[in-house]
């Protein structure tokens, strides 16, 4: 009998003891049977044992370690691929989702703000570990540990490049989604991030039709667009992106000399690879850029204010996501335009409850709406902040001497390694021979080498 089983038994015994405890003697006796009838006990199959949650955290930690090793030391795309398959099987299809690091931020915030929900340690672990790793070694979690990422990565067959400007524009969405998710979780309205998760239903092979279809749609788009969810939706990804921006060890195409052969240019399906750009600005455009930057800096607070203002006006619709407020509104609506609901229908029963507990319900709803209004203002402010920061980020000029991944956007999938001749040389892997499809290719490489040398000597 395994540990889980033993714990299960313990729980059952505990429950029964609790059940047949203090109040039992009050119970009106059941019939005394003359036949030797033994009254069966109510079975109470226990939930997934606690150890398993700690085991999950352990597995996560190990997987993260392996991922970091594979990306930074071993620099093996194959390895990452294998790891992601394993993660997909364990975290995805075996553990079927909840609670996963993507949803964890909600639990953490909810736990901090809600007196009768204390965040369990495993959840804290799930939340913190990937962030810490990202702070030091980039988004190793996204690379090969997150089942969502793994799934999309596996179905990516014919990557098409999303234009960089679109990429940047859409990169705002995850931050806003994160803000919204947290704003709603903080007030206990709804765990939006979990509600809208497209892949967990697939892992469970169960779920409402719409979310199954959503997942399918994401996967289909994912066959040609690299990891659409990770790049343009995933709120936890946004968090990791922030962390990875300041990461200590960045993911590089190659630790060796970059010959600027441009072979890796197309190799990143996630639009994370950036071309070299001379840090020295063009004197003609420089004043324009300076002014733009200044203007944006001045505009920033205004943006935040506008956001907060919009947020404030979102209070009413937003609060409807909270069941209590929704019921209160439904009740009032019903009072205004009465409607006959069928006997014992959920609507009728909810209205009955509202009727019986109206004053308390009203008070609760109003208080909730107040709190939700607050969090909506904050969300709006955050949105303004994000937009402003994004624009400013674009306005400052970065200088890159080599082809290298944008440390925030890079998912550390290790694809680009394979495309770098230097890297292949270093690892002693044979450089793929030119196929008939591209005859002109070797010259081009050779042709580029000297120019590369010049640029480096400049």
């Amino acid at each position: 009998m395994n540990l889980a089983g033993r714990i299960a038994l313990a729980v059952v015994i505990g429950v029964l003891a609790w059940a047949t405890g203090a109040r039992a003697e009050q119970r009106f006796p059941p019939p005394e049977f003359e036949s030797d009838y033994q009254m069966p006990a109510m079975t109470t199959p226990p939930p997934r044992a606690l150890v398993w949650q700690y085991i999950d955290v352990g597995v996560l930690a190990v997987a993260l370690g392996v991922a970091v090793w594979l990306v930074h030391r071993k620099r093996s795309r194959t390895g990452v691929l294998v790891l992601s398959v394993l993660s997909l099987i364990y975290f995805g299809f075996y553990r079927t989702g909840c609670i996963c690091p993507i949803g964890a931020p909600q639990n953490v915030l909810f736990g901090l703000l809600n007196p009768n929900y204390a965040v369990p340690w495993p959840v804290v672990g799930l939340f913190v570990l990937p962030v810490v790793v990202a702070l030091f070694a980039g988004r190793a979690f996204c690379a090969g540990v997150c089942p969502h990422g793994a799934l999309q990565d596996l179905v990516l067959l014919k990557p098409v490049q999303v234009p960089l400007w679109l990429e940047r524009g859409l990169s705002l969405v995850p931050f806003l989604f994160l803000g919204a998710g947290l704003a709603f979780a903080a007030t206990g309205s709804i765990f939006l991030i979990c509600k809208l998760d497209p892949f967990v239903p697939l892992f469970r092979r169960h779920g409402p039709t719409w979310s199954l279809l959503l997942g399918a749609a994401f996967l289909l788009v994912g066959t040609v667009v690299g990891r659409p969810f990770c790049r343009f939706i995933c709120p936890y990804g946004a968090l990791l992106r922030l962390a990875a921006m300041v990461t200590k060890w960045r993911v590089r195409v190659t630790p060796d000399l970059c010959t600027q052969c441009k072979l890796c240019e197309q190799s990143c399906p996630f639009g994370a690879l950036r071309q070299p750009s001379s840090g020295t600005p063009d004197p003609r455009t420089l004043p324009v850029e300076r002014r733009r930057l200044l203007a944006l800096l001045l505009l920033w607070p205004a943006l935040i204010a506008v956001g907060a203002w919009i947020g404030a006006h979102l209070t009413v619709p937003a609060s409807r996501l909270h069941p209590t407020v929704r019921l209160a509104e439904f009740y009032l609506e019903h009072k205004k335009h009465p409607k006959q609901y069928p006997i014992q229908s959920p609507e009728a029963l909810s209205l009955l409850r509202a009727e019986q507990t109206w004053p308390e319900l009203q008070a609760a709803a109003l208080q909730l709406r107040h709190r939700i209004g607050l969090s909506m203002k904050l969300f709006g402010g955050w949105a303004g902040l994000v937009v402003g920061a994004g624009l400013i980020g674009l306005a400052v000029r970065r200088s890159r001497t080599d082809y290298e991944p944008d440390s925030g956007a890079c998912l550390a999938c290790a694809r680009c390694f394979e495309s770098c001749p230097q890297e292949l040389l270093r690892r002693g892997v044979p450089i793929p021979l030119p196929t008939a499809a591209s005859a002109a290719q070797p010259q081009s490489v050779v042709a580029n080498l000297p120019t590369a040398a010049q640029t480096t000597n400049r």
Partner: protein
């Protein structure tokens, strides 16, 4: 793990395998697509498969209720039930396996497609790009716009959401508005309108002394003068008694203390918007205040012959007032008011049946707003409407020549109608034992089943008893017997079920007041003020009489331990004297 995968991948990516991978990918892809489609269809309408929703099964079970001993029917139910549940189980199993198959198919497809893609992968052919920098600038500019656009777009979307949503949720209490009227129990325990809460003249307060012999005033608790004339009957709410009175000069409402008879307040109804400056001519026989007031337990309502309609608080404070126009009515308006929930119901019949003249109106009690009105195809009438719960629905029953019509108080919709009213319709309808009883003046008594719809003259008249019938007073009934008394004093008792006459009795008295029932005692108050008490039984038996020595035209009102009678000059309270009352609850 370094070399195994690489060599493995190398092996799998032998160019020769391309066709194989392609065909595998196609097969697996099509397979998955089909399964997915199948599952989708299964997922889209599961209801069809839920055994508990099968209309066929439900119908069969319904049928079984009507024919409980139909063995073959039972067998059919059992077979169908089994079949449905087996189908349900099969469906679940199918979906379960389908999901695994889909998963498998997709795995194969992904593997094959990846191999295919890998085989097709060719090294890129990068060309030196002289204007890379300019391009970068271009992209940077576009990026700014893209980002701004995203922000703006989302902001606008949120704004539209924000300003397209309204809410009713506010700190004000709403439940208060819900019950701005007395409950049925309250109404039943009081005397809120002409002849009691349901207009039947039956009181629930049965423990009271009605007569005390002829040559004393022992039974009279108190007797107070009413400052203004009026033929309307008193109404009672709590320990207050209300009557109205009026002359061409002035029309008023009077409030008396039920215990002591003290006149607590009187409120003239004046400056009514639209009221005719000069009061109309009305005959002495009805006067200005023939209609009895009504209350919904929160407000008092009063109407006068000049068409003035007013609502007062229970303490006399004016709430609203309006004029309905002077009714075209040879004797002056005398239909009494009725209420339903917080609504005031006014039967306003006039003229010789010209279209649109006669109306039934419903006003919102708190505001006086007209909620609905129905024009009635009838001539002027003097009967009062009753509002009662019959056949499981609230009904307003109205009498007028030539129609008996029932309306729904909620929206004024006509429920049913019966033809046959004739003459000058003054007696009011009553409801007893689920039947509606209507007197056709001095001709007949009709009993109608109130569960019909449309013109039910042919179908729903249970019985009609032709006999000498009242022309002023209304009938009264318990759930076995009906009693009618004519103006010249012929008292008749009918069997409620059959309409057959049980007995009749010539009384040497004249009656304008309608009879009342106190428990199993019938109470009649004669025009000369004689209170006659007799058994409401299958034989006539006089239980007692007393004399008020004053003319009486109005019907009595009742309260716990007391009866109130309006004489031409006074309001009289029959019952234990005030100090005796003090001990009572």
């Amino acid at each position: 793990m370094s070399w195994i995968p690489t060599s493995l991948t190398a092996a799998l990516r032998a160019p020769g395998l391309a066709p194989l991978w392609r065909s595998v990918a196609w097969v697996a892809g099509l397979f998955s697509a089909l399964i997915a489609l199948g599952l989708l269809l299964q997922q889209l309408n599961p209801e069809k498969r839920d055994p508990w929703k099968s209309p066929e099964l439900l119908a069969l079970k319904q049928q079984l209720v009507s024919e409980p001993n139909n063995e073959s029917l039972k067998q059919r139910i059992r077979d169908l039930d089994l079949r449905l549940r087996q189908r349900h189980a099969a469906h679940l199993a199918r979906v379960r396996t389908g999901r695994w198959l889909l998963l498998g198919g997709l795995v194969v497809w992904v593997v094959a497609a990846r191999q295919l893609a890998a085989l097709r992968k060719t090294l890129p052919v990068p060309k030196p790009d002289p204007e890379a920098e300019q391009k970068a600038e271009q992209v940077a500019a576009w990026s700014r716009w893209a980002m701004a656009a995203t922000g703006a777009g989302i902001g606008l979307a949120l704004l539209t959401v924000a300003f397209s949503s309204r809410t009713a949720l506010s700190p004000q209490p709403v439940a208060a508005a819900a019950s701005d009227f007395a409950t049925a129990t309250e109404l039943a325990l009081n005397w809120p309108r002409f002849r009691g809460w349901d207009g039947s003249g039956v009181t629930l307060h049965t423990d009271l002394r009605l007569t005390w012999g002829t040559n004393s005033t022992a039974g009279i608790a108190w007797k107070s003068p009413i400052p203004a004339p009026g033929y309307n009957s008193p109404i009672v709410w709590g320990d207050r008694v209300y009557v109205s009175g009026g002359t061409a000069a002035k029309r008023e409402v009077f409030c008396f203390d039920a215990r002591t008879g003290a006149l607590l307040w009187q409120r003239p109804i004046e400056r009514v918007p639209g009221s005719p400056p000069k009061a109309p001519e009305v005959p002495e026989s009805t006067g200005f205040a023939a209609s009895t007031m009504a209350t919904d337990g929160r407000r008092l309502y009063v109407i006068f012959a000049n068409g003035d309609l007013a609502a007062l608080g229970l303490d006399g404070t004016p709430v609203w007032s309006k004029n309905l126009g002077v009714p075209k009515n040879p004797y002056g308006h005398s239909s009494s008011l009725a209420t339903w929930q917080d609504r005031l119901i006014v039967q306003f019949d006039q003229g010789e049946g010209e279209p649109g003249a006669s109306k039934l109106l419903a006003f919102d009690g708190p505001t006086g707003r007209l909620l609905w009105q129905q024009s009635r195809p009838v001539e002027a009438s003097w009967a009062s409407p009753i509002v009662v719960e019959l056949a499981g629905r609230p009904q307003i029953i109205t009498l007028a020549k030539p129609w008996i019509i029932a309306y729904s108080p909620a929206d004024g919709a006509e429920l049913w109608r019966v033809e046959g009213m004739e003459g000058e319709v003054a007696p009011s309808p009553i409801a007893a034992a689920g039947l509606v009883l209507a007197v056709v003046p001095s001709m007949k008594l009709m009993a109608i089943r109130p569960d019909g719809a449309g013109d039910v003259t042919k179908t729903h008249v249970v019985w009609a008893a032709e006999d000498s019938m009242p022309d002023i007073t209304s009938p009264v009934a318990n759930d076995q017997l009906v009693f009618t008394v004519t103006t010249p004093g012929l008292l008749i008792c009918f069997d409620l079920k059959t309409g057959s006459k049980v007995w009749e009795k010539e009384l040497d008295l004249e009656f304008h007041a309608s009879p009342s029932l106190v428990g199993n005692r019938l109470v009649l108050v004669s025009k000369t003020g004689v209170i006659l008490e007799c058994a409401a039984a299958r034989q006539f038996k006089e239980l007692g009489r007393s004399d008020l020595g004053e003319e009486v035209h109005a019907s009595p009102a009742f309260a716990p331990g007391r009866m109130f009678i309006r004489t031409v000059k006074h309001l009289v309270c029959i019952g234990p004297a005030a100090q005796a009352l003090a001990q009572q609850p």
